[in-house]
Symmetry: C3
Subunit: 375 residues, 3 copies
């Protein structure tokens, strides 16, 4: 890369904390010198001398001995191994502690959004804007919008007529929310998200499509996070509903009248067709597809790129994609897929033949010739 753009961007505030500060705020048993300065959070493998790191996955336990981190966050079971190399914070759940450390860290090193409405923003006089709201440059706030206390609206956001946004919710740059939607409190919505565009609804008429106006809205609960360029369509009649604590990654498509239950998380590029109902506490792998008008129970876990074409009523893990192979092998096997059904019939025929006229004249009870899972 060229020098012209390779330099590190300056952080808003330089991070420099003591181990004692961290443990005092976030808890855990600090073993080591509380005065040690910490300037970075880094993975075990690449941590430098001013870094705090963490070990949550036992797979990386071997990295513990060699890391140069100033302090390592570990579970009780790793206490001795951690102390053998230096300072440690012993906690019940190192990954959760790490998550909280990143939030504590970000709150102290990132410049907060300036409260107030930037003079370049276009705000309708009827909009209701609570205390401590920040509206960024060139944002557009339409008639009757309500922004709760502490809401942050980034540059180039547009919020349509009558939409309500709950307190402390943050919209990154360039988020579009159409009219008549509601977003809960403490949500995070990333750049490029489109909430409340029309669902895909048409009635066929003599070879043409006639538009069905999408008269519903979108209701999003509290503590929801929505990734960049994800789309959540408005309902056709009722609303599309995303419940509390849902986490959606980037480039996800949520069709009209979909319902997603509490604390369900979906990786990037998932597509959900209209009126699907997805339970609470589910996870959906990247680029999986969920058909319209089906129901998925709570605690269902869908693998990446799988297609869910029917309702799933039992919690559990579901997969639906074949592993990659080298081209030549793949082509041979893929060709055979087209004969799978025929192969099954041929196999059955052979079994029947051997059952009836087999080498030793064995009868119908012969174990080897019983079809084990008839279609």
């Amino acid at each position: 890369m060229s020098d012209s753009a390779g330099a590190e961007a300056p952080a808003a505030v330089v991070a420099d904390f003591s181990l004692g500060d961290i443990a005092a705020e976030l808890g855990g048993e600090l073993i080591g010198d509380a005065a040690v300065r910490i300037t970075r959070i880094e993975p075990l493998e690449t941590a430098g001398s001013g870094a705090i790191s963490f070990l949550s996955n036992p797979r990386y336990a071997a990295q513990l001995a060699s890391t140069r981190a100033a302090c390592v966050i570990v579970a009780e079971s790793m206490r001795d191994a951690a102390l053998a190399r230096g300072a440690a914070i012993v906690v019940p759940d190192p990954y959760l502690y790490f998550a909280r450390l990143t939030r504590w860290w970000a709150a102290r090193t990132r410049r907060p959004a300036a409260p107030g409405v930037h003079p370049s923003a276009v705000v309708h006089p009827s909009a209701s804007i609570a205390d401590g709201v920040s509206v960024g440059p060139l944002a557009v706030i339409e008639q009757g919008v309500h922004l709760g206390a502490g809401v942050v609206v980034g540059p180039h956001c547009s919020i349509g007529e009558g939409t309500r946004i709950g307190e402390q919710t943050r919209l990154a740059a360039r988020v579009s929310i159409a009219a008549g939607c509601t977003i809960g409190a403490r949500c995070i919505v990333h750049s490029g998200v489109v909430i409340g565009a029309d669902g895909f609804g048409f009635a066929p008429n003599q070879g043409r499509w006639e538009k069905i106006e999408q008269l519903g809205g979108v209701r999003i609960g509290d503590d929801v996070e929505i990734g960049a360029n994800t789309c959540i369509d408005r309902g056709a009649l009722g609303d599309t509903v995303i419940d509390d604590g849902v986490k959606l990654d980037n480039l996800i498509q949520v069709g009209h009248n979909v319902q997603i239950g509490k604390h369900t998380a979906m990786a990037g590029c998932v597509g959900i067709a209209g009126s699907a109902r997805i339970g609470a506490h589910c996870t959906v792998g990247g680029a999986a597809g969920i058909a319209g008008h089906i129901t998925i129970a709570d605690h269902v876990h869908i693998g990446p790129m799988a297609i869910v074409s029917h309702s799933i009523t039992k919690p559990g893990h579901y997969s639906g994609v074949f592993p990659i192979d080298d081209n030549a092998a793949w082509l041979k096997n893929a060709a055979a897929v087209r004969q799978l059904s025929a192969m099954r019939e041929r196999l059955r025929a052979l079994e029947k033949r051997l059952l009836e006229h087999g080498p030793h004249g064995s009868g119908p009870n012969d174990k080897n010739t019983t079809e084990r899972d008839p279609a």
Copy 2:
């Protein structure tokens, strides 16, 4: 969800129509009290007492008896069942009637875009803007753009040099159309759409890629609808062409020089590689993929997530995806896929063996051992 954002957003205009108004405007045989007030359109199942509803899918006929809707739109075949419960509008195609009702409804309840150019928009003096055009706040209209009569350009839209947009076309907030494109009349383009970005074209040169400038444009016909965050690339030499009446859902990728025929509809997340030609009156399921430089005939229907790697010359329905399964079963079967070709050979060997030396010495005409669909 918290109270802070849970309240219903106010509609621009409160809906309150009489059954008589509706039937007078949209036709159909109204049976019942024309003075009854209608304030909502709702599905049969959840309809309240002020609602009009419809029955188009016989699967939901059972809901007819129990619905609380004030009036139900039904086909002739359901006339008696509908009247047994209350008011009805009898029409030849209830779903089409419903579509028209939603449009009539939206036209009467939504605040229309204010005509004129918002003072915060940046409009090049050479742009030609016809009567009744609405240009929203902070939109950018470049040199030589033409906007036809009644065009609506939402907030944060940008329209590149020389692009032409036909009459009554509506762009939602934040639509980007690059230079040198044409959009027809009465189109609807949703937020985040990018029309006319460069197609993906590079010539390899000693391990590097050299850009091929994309010198074509995009031509979009009349009555086209394009969903949120969908991308339609400009052509490399000629144009990318979307014909009249095409409906594209959200997050679709249309590569350079693709052609999509009249009244074809595609669900979300479809990807179409460069120079594919798709016929008229096709439908493409969600997240399906269409390879480059292939041709798809008119009236072809592609299932969700299928990959179309070769041209399709015959109308019909095509699928290409395996249904999901529980993890354990899937892993076993997926592993077997890698041996499919080998299994086929083994099966053939067994058949040959039995054919030649079978229990009863049966000859080549034995039906059971004939391979039914050789590769």
Copy 3:
């Protein structure tokens, strides 16, 4: 399409060059009249009399005889065939020559971005803006941003605090780059791209998700092109890294801490989960998925819609998707997939039976009954 929008958009500058101009600038052996005027670049098949065209794929050699192009760019091997029909430019690599011709052409026919900062842009006084930079209407440039010489920032772009952009890089309309990212020189970033949104990171805690703040950034090398609506998330701790010369098509998802090696190219709709490391000089087909935390070697080529669930250590071509089929055939075969593992066991049982008690009492060495690739 209606007349209202069907007219050709005017080019910024009318193209009109002589063959001699082209050959003088771009090289090659011009055979024919150097004074001939060229006003278009067109494919062989549709070229008109003022067009220059090219033949790079031998598959299209038959079009050479019939094309009406004024001049054709050909390789040495096609010299005679080309001359038999008219003027030609003979070059070692016609496709590469064509690529360079398009760039030369675009540079002469497209209006360059006006240098300077548009008065409607919102630029923080601390931003450092080098010579010849163009900042378009309604762009937002935050505190401490650095724009290198000749950078073009389109309308509605937003560039977050401390981000650095290398010289000659061009951002189309509406590109969002968050704080603390670096973009190299001579990059092209298309509309709707989001660089530096939060990666998808959460720690589970009693059925809820706790956010892991994404403290890393994004580093993008020189000569990178990024397609419309593609998302590149910032790293959780370290940076997400896109190396020099990488080309990404539209609607691609790049998760946090992904690394993509030099000169790798990816088609549209690819999804890459967090911390995947992709080598240099790879290609990835449209809508393929790459799992998190895996490594792909240099010079690996992944087919469209394949899922890469494990590391690939050997260069080569890899596939993972089944060809589409007509619905009826597909349904039969797809159902059989669920019995694949069982079919394999049944096949093995038949083989064993015949091996032990076969028609001719053949022993364990019998070739036909040996399982060729046991699981």
